[in-house]
C-alpha cells in the first residue's frame, strides 16, 4: 500500500539538509536533528564519549544557560530528549507551533556554539550522571551486560560496533574538556547534520526558519568517512558464558546480518521474525508452546551502516530444563529454516506484522520525524517512510531462505549465555 506523507527537502548553503513534512492534524511541530556521529566513531580509550557529549548538549551554550534547554522548552509545552546510538546522535523536541522558532534558535545555539559553555564542572557532573545511567541500566541489573557482551562476541576487536554506546567507566573517567572541544569541532556542524520538521507548518515556513537560525553557522564538520569494509558471517561459533546470580538461564544467540537498507537486510529481518519474533515463529511454537522448555523467545534485527548489521534471539530457559538442550533445538530449527525457507503463511504473517508496526510508528509525529531523519542521514533517502513497505513487499520467500542459509546458520552464531549459579543445567 503506497504511503504519501508529504516530504520537501532543501539544503542550506552551509550543507544543512532540511526536510519538512507538512501535517496540520494537530497544532504542534516536531524538530528532529540527526548528527552523523555515534559510538562507531569513537577511538580506543574514549568509548562512551559520543553519548557523554550528548549529555553536555543540555548544559548550556553561548546564549542558553545550563539546564535551560529543558526548562525553557518544557515550560513552552515541549517534550524533548536526545539519544546516542552506534551510528548517530539525535536531538528532538515536539513543541506547540508557536514555540518552534524558540526550539530552532536553541538548537542552533548549541549545535553552533556549544563550546562557549563547556567547562570542567559540567563535564564532571554529566560524567557522574552517565555513570549512574550505566549502573542503573547495565551493572545493577540481572543480565544487564548481555548486550555489551553480544557486541563484543559478534564483532571483531577494533570494529566500530565491538563496543557498546555506553562505553566503559575507565574511558568515561579519561574524557577531558579538550576531548569535548575536539569532538565538537570534528563532528558537529551543519554539514554533518540533518534537520527534519514535521507538523503544523508549510515547507516554505520550515525552510525560512531553518535558514534564519542555522544559516549563519559555518560548515565546520570534517568530511565524514565512508563505511568500513563489509563483514562476512562468523566462520565458526563463538561462546561467552557467565555463571551469575541470575533468576534463570538466558541465552542470546547472535548473528551478523547484511547492512541496513538493502533487500538482503529486509529479508534477514523477515527471517528473524519467522524464526523467533512472531507468536507463530518456529522457535516459539517449538520451544515455548510444544516442548515448553523455554518461557519466552524474542528476535530482533538491528540495521547498521558500517558494513554489517546485528540480529539476535533471546531465549529464557524454563525452570528445570537444560540450556544446552534448548540451544541444540534452536540450532536444529535454524538448519531446518535455511533448508526449507519460509512458507506462504509465514511470509504473509511477517509482512502483515511489519506493516502494522510500521504504520503504528508513523502514526506518531515524533517517530515519523525520527524515521525521516534516520534515512536521510544514513542512507541519503528522505522518502524512505513512503517506500519502505513497497520495498519490503518485493522481498520473495526465496530471498529470505538464501539470506538465512548464508547468515543464520548455527556455525555463524555467537552465544552469550547467562547461567544461574547452582543451576540444574550444569
Amino acid at each position: 500500500m503506497p504511503l504519501d506523507y508529504q516530504i520537501a527537502e532543501r539544503a542550506l548553503a552551509n550543507g544543512l539538509r532540511v526536510i519538512v513534512s507538512e501535517d496540520h492534524s494537530v497544532p504542534i511541530v516536531t524538530v528532529n536533528l540527526w548528527v552523523n556521529v555515534g559510538s562507531r566513531h569513537e577511538v580506543e580509550g574514549r568509548t562512551g564519549f559520543a553519548h557523554l557529549f550528548e549529555h553536555l548538549m543540555f548544559q548550556g551554550s553561548r546564549n542558553v544557560a545550563s539546564g535551560e534547554h529543558f526548562s525553557a522548552l518544557m515550560a513552552a509545552g515541549g517534550r524533548l530528549n536526545a539519544t546516542t546510538w552506534f551510528d548517530r546522535t539525535n536531538y528532538f523536541e515536539t513543541v506547540p507551533r508557536g514555540a518552534m522558532d524558540l526550539a530552532l534558535w536553541m538548537e542552533a545555539d548549541r549545535h553552533g556554539h556549544l563550546l562557549d559553555a563547556v567547562n570542567q564542572q559540567n563535564l564532571d557532573n554529566q560524567r557522574d550522571v552517565v555513570k549512574e545511567e550505566k549502573r542503573q541500566r547495565y551493572d545493577n541489573m540481572p543480565y544487564g551486560n548481555a548486550l555489551i557482551d553480544i557486541y563484543a562476541a559478534i564483532f571483531p576487536k577494533d570494529h566500530p560496533y565491538h563496543h557498546a554506546t555506553i562505553g566503559s567507566m575507565e574511558d568515561l573517567d579519561a574524557a577531558s574538556v579538550q576531548d569535548v572541544h575536539e569532538f565538537f569541532r570534528r563532528y558537529y556542524g551543519p554539514n554533518n547534520t540533518v534537520l527534519t520538521l514535521v507538523g503544523d507548518l508549510t515547507p516554505d515556513e520550515g525552510f525560512a526558519s531553518a535558514e534564519r537560525y542555522f544559516g549563519s553557522l559555518p560548515a565546520t564538520a570534517d568530511a565524514s568517512r565512508g563505511p568500513v569494509e563489509p563483514l562476512a558471517p562468523l566462520s565458526e561459533p563463538q561462546r561467552d558464558e557467565h555463571i551469575e546470580d541470575v533468576p534463570s538461564d538466558r541465552l542470546h544467540v547472535a548473528f551478523r546480518l547484511p547492512v541496513d537498507d538493502t533487500p538482503e537486510f529486509f529479508a534477514a529481518s523477515l527471517a528473524m521474525d519467522i524464526i523467533g519474533g512472531l507468536a507463530t515463529s518456529r522457535l516459539y511454537q517449538r520451544l515455548v508452546r510444544r516442548e515448553q522448555i523455554a518461557n519466552s523467545v524474542s528476535a530482533i534485527a538491528m540495521g547498521f551502516v558500517d558494513g554489517v548489521s546485528l540480529g539476535f534471539l533471546g531465549i529464557d530457559v524454563a525452570d528445570g530444563c537444560s540450556a544446552d538442550a534448548v540451544e541444540a533445538a534452536a540450532c536444529e530449527e535454524l538448519v531446518r529454516f535455511a533448508a526449507e525457507g519460509p512458507n506462504e503463511i509465514e511470509m504473509e504473517s511477517a509482512m502483515a506484522q511489519t506493516e502494522r508496526g510500521w504504520l503504528s510508528s508513523l502514526a506518531s509525529q515524533e517517530e515519523r520525524a525520527d524515521h525521516i531523519c534516520h534515512h536521510a542521514t544514513l542512507q541519503g533517502d528522505s522518502g524512505y517512510i513512503n517506500t519502505f513497505l513497497d520495498r519490503l513487499g518485493e522481498v520473495a520467500a526465496a530471498q529470505v531462505q538464501q539470506v538465512a542459509a548464508r547468515w543464520l546458520m548455527p556455525e555463524s552464531r555467537a552465544v552469550v549465555a547467562y547461567l544461574k549459579q547452582d543451576g540444574d543445567t550444569q
Binding site: 554529566q126 549512574e132 541489573m141
Partner: protein, 453 residues
C-alpha cells in the same frame, strides 16, 4: 550566507493555537456494552480497547493472580480454534491483541490496520467470549508467571515496588499484594478455576469499547454490534469501591539487603488523592512535575544536576480508583545512599513551604500545552478512554481537567500538597545494608528494619 554568529535574537513564543481533545461519539448496545469512538483523521492503525470492570479484590484470596492468568490465556485457544491456530489468524492479518488487568478491571487491547478491523473485532470477540483455557496452555502460563516472579525479585526497582506495597498498605488489603499473584496463589490455578472466574466476571454489562483512529467510511457502532452485540451474561454484582487502607505502621523505613549492589533503589511514598479530589486533579499533576517531573524539577536539580548521584529520580501522584499514593522512586550511586536519602526527604518535606509562581506556571504550561501532542495518536486516545471508563469517568474528565489548570496557582499548589504530604513517609530501600543501613539509621528518620531480598 556568512553573517556574524548569533545575529538572530531569541524568538518570543506565541500563544498556542486552540485545540480540544478528540470528540467522543457514544452509543450503547442492548447488552449493556458502551461504545465510544474518536475519529482521528490520518491515524490508519485503529486502536480498540475493551474495558471490563473487574476489581481485583474479586479474586479469591488463595488464587490471587487468577485475573492476570485469565487475561494472558484469553487468546490461547478458544471454542473454535487452538492456541496455535488463533495466533496464526491474528498474525496473518497483522493484528496485535493483548490483555492485562489493573486494580479496577480487565483491558483488552487491539491494534490493527483499518482494512482488517472487522476480522480483528471478530477475533477479539472470540477471545473474550469463548476462551477454552486448554490445560497445557494454562499450566505453561502458570509456570511462566512463576519464573516472572523470580525475575521481579531479582530486579532492584521491581523488588522495591513489591516491598513498597506490602509495607504501605494494610495487610488485609488486596493492594498490599502483587496484582499478578504470588508463588503460592498462582500455583493453584486450574483451567476450571479460570473458566469459572471468566464466566462470573467477563461480562458486557458496564463494559466499554473505545475505538480510535481514522474512522471515515466506517460505521463503528455497527462493527462493534456485529462482533459483540450477541454477547450476554448475568451482570456481576456491583460493589461500591472503597479506598484501600494504609497500614497502621506504614510510616517506617525498610531496608532490603542486596549485597554488593552498585546502586541503591528508593521507593518513598505517602497518601495522595484520586482524580475526583476536591479542588481538582490538575494541581497534583503540576505538583508531580514541579517536584520530580523533569531534570530541572526540585529533586533532580539537586540529586542529578548538582550532585551527580543519579541518572534521574521521578516523583508523581499516582491515583487509584479511590485515594492514591504520592510516590518518589529511582536509584542512586551506592556510596551516596545516606546523603541522597537525607536530601530527598528534605526536598519532599520542604515542598510543604510552597512553590514559586515560576515553578507553578512552568508546570501548568507543561501539562496543558503538551496535551495536543500527548493525545495525537489513536492508541493514546483509546487508552485514555478505556482507563477512565474503569473509574466511571469519560474523556470529558480529561478536557475538564485541562481547563482546571487555569485555576492552579502557587497558593493552590501549597494547599494541595500540604493536604496530603504530612511527612509520614513509607521508605523502601534496596541496596547493600551492611554498608549503609547504619548511616540511614543515623538520619533519625525512624526505625530501620533490615530484611533479606
Amino acid at each position: 550566507m556568512t553573517q556574524l554568529e548569533s545575529a538572530v535574537d531569541r524568538p518570543e513564543v506565541s500563544a498556542p493555537e486552540p485545540w480540544s481533545f478528540p470528540e467522543a461519539h457514544r452509543a450503547g448496545l442492548a447488552n449493556g456494552l458502551g461504545v465510544v469512538s474518536y475519529d482521528i483523521p490520518g491515524q490508519y492503525v485503529i486502536s480498540v480497547r475493551l474495558a471490563v470492570p473487574m476489581p481485583l479484590d474479586r479474586e479469591p484470596r488463595e488464587q490471587e493472580g487468577i485475573a492476570t492468568i485469565m487475561a494472558r490465556t484469553l487468546d490461547e485457544g478458544t471454542a473454535r480454534h487452538t492456541a496455535e491456530e488463533f495466533a496464526e489468524l491474528l498474525e496473518r492479518k497483522g493484528i496485535a491483541l493483548g490483555a492485562g488487568v489493573s486494580e479496577s478491571g480487565l483491558i483488552v487491547d487491539l491494534d490493527v490496520a483499518k482494512g482488517h478491523l472487522r476480522e480483528a473485532l471478530d477475533l477479539l470477540s472470540q477471545a473474550v467470549r469463548e476462551p477454552a483455557f486448554p490445560a497445557n496452555e494454562v499450566s505453561r502460563h502458570v509456570k511462566t508467571r512463576l519464573a516472572e516472579i523470580d525475575q521481579e525479585r531479582a530486579q532492584p526497582g521491581q523488588r522495591a515496588a513489591l516491598e513498597f506495597i506490602s509495607t504501605y498498605f494494610d495487610a488485609a488489603e488486596r493492594a498490599s499484594r502483587p496484582s499478578a499473584g504470588t508463588r503460592s496463589t498462582v500455583s493453584t490455578i486450574t483451567p476450571q478455576d479460570l473458566a469459572a472466574f471468566h464466566i462470573a466476571n467477563v461480562l458486557p454489562t458496564g463494559a466499554t469499547v473505545a475505538v480510535a483512529g481514522d474512522l471515515s467510511d466506517l460505521d463503528v457502532v455497527a462493527e462493534v454490534e456485529r462482533a459483540l452485540g450477541s454477547w450476554s451474561g448475568a451482570a456481576a454484582e456491583v460493589v461500591e469501591p472503597r479506598e484501600a487502607a494504609r497500614a497502621a505502621d506504614a510510616a517506617r523505613i525498610v531496608f532490603l539487603d542486596r549485597p554488593d549492589s552498585v546502586q541503591t533503589e528508593f521507593y518513598i511514598g505517602c497518601p495522595g488523592p484520586d482524580r475526583r479530589v476536591e479542588g481538582g486533579w490538575a494541581a497534583y499533576q503540576v505538583l508531580g512535575f514541579a517536584v520530580g517531573g523533569s531534570p530541572n524539577a526540585r529533586v533532580d536539580a539537586v540529586l542529578r544536576e548538582d550532585k551527580g548521584f543519579t541518572y534521574g529520580i521521578r516523583s508523581g501522584f499516582r491515583p487509584r480508583r479511590l485515594g492514591g499514593v504520592f510516590l518518589t522512586s529511582g536509584s542512586v550511586r551506592a556510596d551516596s545512599t545516606v546523603e541522597a536519602l537525607r536530601l530527598l526527604l528534605e526536598i519532599l518535606d520542604k515542598a510543604r513551604e510552597g512553590f514559586t509562581e515560576e515553578e507553578t506556571q512552568a508546570g501548568v504550561d507543561f501539562i496543558g500545552k503538551t496535551a495536543p501532542g500527548r493525545y495525537a495518536t489513536a492508541d493514546t486516545v483509546a487508552d485514555e478512554a478505556a482507563g477512565l471508563s474503569l473509574e466511571d469517568l469519560t474523556t470529558e474528565f480529561t478536557t475538564a481537567n485541562l481547563h482546571g489548570l487555569a485555576d492552579v496557582n502557587a497558593e493552590a499548589l501549597a494547599e494541595a500538597y500540604g493536604r496530603y504530604v504530612t511527612g509520614e513517609w513509607t521508605v523502601v530501600i534496596v541496596g547493600d545494608a551492611s554498608l549503609y543501613a547504619e548511616g540511614v539509621r543515623g538520619l533519625g528518620r525512624g526505625e530501620v528494619a533490615i530484611l533479606p531480598t
